[in-house]
């Protein structure tokens, strides 16, 4: 019989420790260091809080923060759309399995691909406006991509369109785990569709809705780069209309070669995501408990 030596576990976890130390550990230490330095090339002198002062004093930074915050408006829409479709699918109307496959398609397509397609559809002389004009809704035929007042809303439409598919599948999975006998009983008692949805299904969905909201918040604040990169033509355009914090960091690092500035913004984004880790874990635990105590 071979006895596990005391060193064995460490041998097994060593590759993991090395990998995350390199990809996460090293950068997380360095962004704090860089954020207090004037980095030219690979290093530079300490300059205290000057990078932070520069970032916080820049209109573009605040504009990009505001854009991320504005994207949060998409979340309630996503929740309502997903709940509605999920409840309808849960009722198992004829062909619900086919509907389910179809409504999940948006989430299967990669963001850059779908952004390129949508960009063509929403062009000023594109098919979306053609349909709107045909419906005599000329006032709605906006310059979806080219106008700086509208472009971010177009990004939001695209995000709602894609991320709602995730909500539908998450919510549906949770509904499938509900106790059906209660719903059947309510049906027999004559509860109508709205009453069943409102008083029986919805109250049991709290955990998973909360979870979806937290996950989506993290997405809106820190994972929309691919959307804005394509819609904004790689420049956050038109003008600065679609610049988000991720793009601000990208710009500072790649276009203007100011790693110190990019690091100061990264540190702030990192702190925001750390603040979101706790609600995320709490929501995940609660959603898992709901699932377990069905």
């Amino acid at each position: 019989m071979t006895r596990t030596s005391r060193l064995t576990p460490y041998l097994y976890v060593a590759p993991l420790v090395l990998l995350i130390a390199f990809v996460f550990g090293y950068p997380l230490v360095r962004i704090f260091e860089f954020s207090f330095k004037m980095v030219r090339g690979i290093d530079g002198p300490w300059i205290g809080f000057r990078n932070y002062q520069l970032v916080l004093g820049q209109d573009l930074f605040w504009e990009s923060v505001l854009h991320n915050v504005q994207l949060l408006l998409a979340i309630p829409v996503m929740v309502i759309v997903s709940l509605l479709v999920a409840i309808l699918l849960y009722e198992r109307v004829a062909g619900w399995k086919l509907y389910r496959i179809i409504v999940f398609v948006p989430f299967v397509l990669a963001i850059p691909i779908i952004a390129v397609v949508m960009k063509r559809m929403f062009q000023f002389s594109g098919p979306v406006n053609e349909v709107l004009r045909w419906l005599s809704l000329d006032f709605m035929a906006l310059d979806w991509i080219g106008s700086s007042d509208v472009a971010l809303w177009t990004v939001m439409i695209l995000i709602i369109w894609r991320e709602s598919a995730l909500g539908i599948i998450l919510f549906l999975a949770r509904m499938m785990s509900l106790d059906e006998s209660v719903i059947e009983a309510a049906k027999l008692e004559g509860a109508n569709w709205w009453q069943r949805a409102r008083y029986i299904i919805l109250p049991q969905m709290r955990g998973v809705i909360e979870f979806f909201v937290v996950v989506s918040t993290i997405t809106m604040l820190s994972a929309v780069f691919a959307y804005v990169y394509v819609i904004g033509g790689g420049r956050g355009g038109p003008g600065t209309a679609t610049v988000v914090v991720e793009f601000y960091i990208f710009n500072a690092l790649i276009r203007t070669s100011l790693p110190g500035i990019a690091s100061a913004a990264s540190v702030m984004l990192f702190l925001v995501s750390v603040a979101l880790i706790f609600p995320l874990f709490r929501a995940r635990r609660r959603a898992a408990q709901d699932e377990a105590t069905r």
Binding site: P9, Y10, L16, I20, V105, V108, V215, S222, A223, S266
Partner: protein, 273 residues
């Protein structure tokens, strides 16, 4: 009949939702089959005389296939490295006693919530200095690192559900940890491994951020980065662009339709990490 009538509004809503979900895909395919002239006159209708010229042009006159190959290399490299690293670590965390075990799992799990953009600045500066920009190995290492915390989390949860008796009896037969992992735990974990394969491959295949920053050389462009460049260059040739998008999305759509169960499970698991 009554029942059918009652279900009508539900079908109306679901049909509308399905229509919205499919419209971009239909537009993409239909436009790809039109000539530039036809698209200029008719943007909405189906092609009257479908042409394949756009597909030919994309495949032969642009580096599309080359980009796909680059993406494939990155996916394979990152997924293989990450899977090996996380299987070993998850096995130790789930089945062995050692100091710092819980802390390691807690740290690794928290890293799932850190946005990738945060790690980019120092890695870019480092890579520029040691010449890893626009190399496969440099990008593979970053991708492998980014997908590993979730893999460790998922596998640890799964390995803990393997019944203890299996380990005991294997140990009686003189099997060491590595043999137990490879011969017993991994075959039992096939569902979790498939889910991981889907999640991780999609992450790397679909990523734009890392690809754009760390693979700037034209010869190393990935499919997603290539598309983002390509669309700007052919801004006015919509059918040609759409043919490119059809080719780019075809692998995912085909895999989705063939393995939708795994896909839905994998995408859900990946999205909620």
């Amino acid at each position: 009949m009554n029942k059918l009538l009652a279900a009508l509004p539900k079908h109306a809503v679901l049909l509308f939702a399905s229509f919205l979900a499919l419209v971009p895909t239909i537009f993409m395919i239909s436009t790809a089959l039109k000539t530039e002239q036809e698209y200029a006159i008719d943007k909405l209708g189906f092609p009257s005389m479908p042409v394949l010229e756009n597909f030919r042009a994309v495949l032969l006159d642009s580096p599309f296939l080359w980009w796909m190959l680059n993406s494939l290399i990155l996916v394979a490299g990152a997924v293989v490295i990450s899977t090996i690293v996380s299987c070993l670590a998850a096995y130790a965390i789930a089945r062995m006693e050692f100091k710092g075990r819980n802390m390691l799992l807690a740290i690794s799990t928290s890293l799932m919530a850190v946005p990738p953009i945060v790690m980019i600045v120092p890695l870019f500066v480092l890579y520029s200095r040691i010449g890893l920009i626009s190399t496969y190995q440099g990008a593979i290492l970053i991708y492998a690192g980014l997908i590993t915390p979730f893999s460790v989390y998922l596998l640890t949860t799964f390995f803990r559900t393997v019944p203890n008796e299996l380990f005991e009896s294997a140990r009686m037969d003189g099997a060491n940890d590595f043999i137990i992992l490879v011969k017993i735990v991994l075959p039992l974990s096939a569902p979790a491994l498939v889910t991981l394969l889907v999640v991780n491959s999609l992450y790397v295949w679909n990523d734009l951020l890392i690809a754009i920053i760390f693979l700037q050389d034209d010869a190393k462009r990935t499919l997603m980065a290539g598309i983002s460049v390509f669309q700007g260059r052919y801004n006015n040739q919509v059918p040609l662009t759409m043919a490119g998008m059809v080719i780019a999305s075809a692998p995912m759509l085909i895999l989705y339709i063939s393995f939708q169960k795994y896909f839905i499970r994998g995408l859900m698991a990946g999205a909620v990490k």
